[in-house]
Subunit: 189 residues, 2 copies
């Protein structure tokens, strides 16, 4: 289904599904509910997606792309002027918590099981690459092992997101600020 | 079964079970194998433990006690002279990785599911209490939130243990050194 109208309909289905999955879970959501939420007929669903599972896979792919994009912020971080680095890192971490917090159901699905391990490792690899790059720029301490530091950061962010964003006990700003404060001094030269 | 002999037999059963569980998993181990490993008869097992499950629970309780003990090392950390603090913290983290690494099967069982969440929170609470104490002593930065810092540290240690101790890709010394390096500067004043 090419064309602007097709893309809009597709986007409406994705948005409706995301909302339903978040509210009722993947298994608790039917295709009828997804199309109803998008103001479409059941038949139209299958013009865009072969199955509910394929739609979910696309949602996960998009979510993963956004996670990876944020993970790459570290590349830019090393090019910040000295005084701006902490603010930049804090901002990036807040953005990451915000993304996870706004998509708790996708976060749960994306980070569980074998797929979760893959995403986690990929994300950590991206962060590690940037730490290495920023080591060569003299911004990150040469004593840090980029792989271990990146995995520690990813594990901490993931745990804090699970622990505090589900129940709303902490804001994304609090979490981002604290994570930046905790890790930045250890990572920087 | 009181008395020295009873305690020794009990300890032999626990040691045999721990070894078997680590090699074959809890479900893959039978009571016959545990008693055979301890050089005892099947009947004697039930003089000491009502079931394989109860024996496992005792192993977990002992393991949890040792984890908690190490988690409490932070209390002592704040009383170290300035120049010794980093070495002390590094040593404590290496000891924690060592304990987890020597008991990978128990680690896996202990940290999974609802029991795991309880142990993790309890451990983090112990670490947080010590961070708070060391804040009042002026050793830990007042800008750190003890709860979040402790949970980040516990999440990172747990992830690194899973990731690297199972496959032996990193030594406990490497992991302990890096974790100390990464977290200490962020935590300290």
């Amino acid at each position: 289904m090419a064309g602007v109208k097709g893309e809009t309909t597709r986007a409406r289905l994705l948005a409706s599904a995301e909302e339903r999955f978040a509210a009722q879970g993947y298994h608790g959501t039917t295709v009828s509910q997804i199309v109803a939420g998008a103001g479409l007929t059941q038949a139209s669903f299958y013009l865009y997606f072969p199955s509910k599972e394929e739609l979910m896979n696309e949602l996960l792919r998009r979510f993963e792309d956004r996670i990876r994009e944020l993970g790459n912020a570290g590349e830019e971080a090393g090019r910040q002027p000295d005084g701006k680095l902490e603010a930049f890192a804090t901002h990036s971490l807040i953005a990451m918590f915000k993304l996870l917090g706004e998509n708790l159901n996708l976060t749960r699905i994306a980070l569980q099981g074998a797929a979760g391990e893959r995403i986690r490792l990929e994300l950590a690899r991206g962060v590690a690459d940037n730490l290495r790059l920023n080591q060569s720029r003299g911004v990150v301490s040469p004593e840090i092992e980029p792989g271990l530091a990146a995995e520690s950061l990813v594990a901490a962010v993931e745990y804090l997101a699970y622990r505090y964003l589900m129940n709303g006990e902490r804001s994304v700003e609090e979490l981002g600020n604290q994570a930046a404060r905790l890790f930045l001094r250890g990572i920087l030269k």
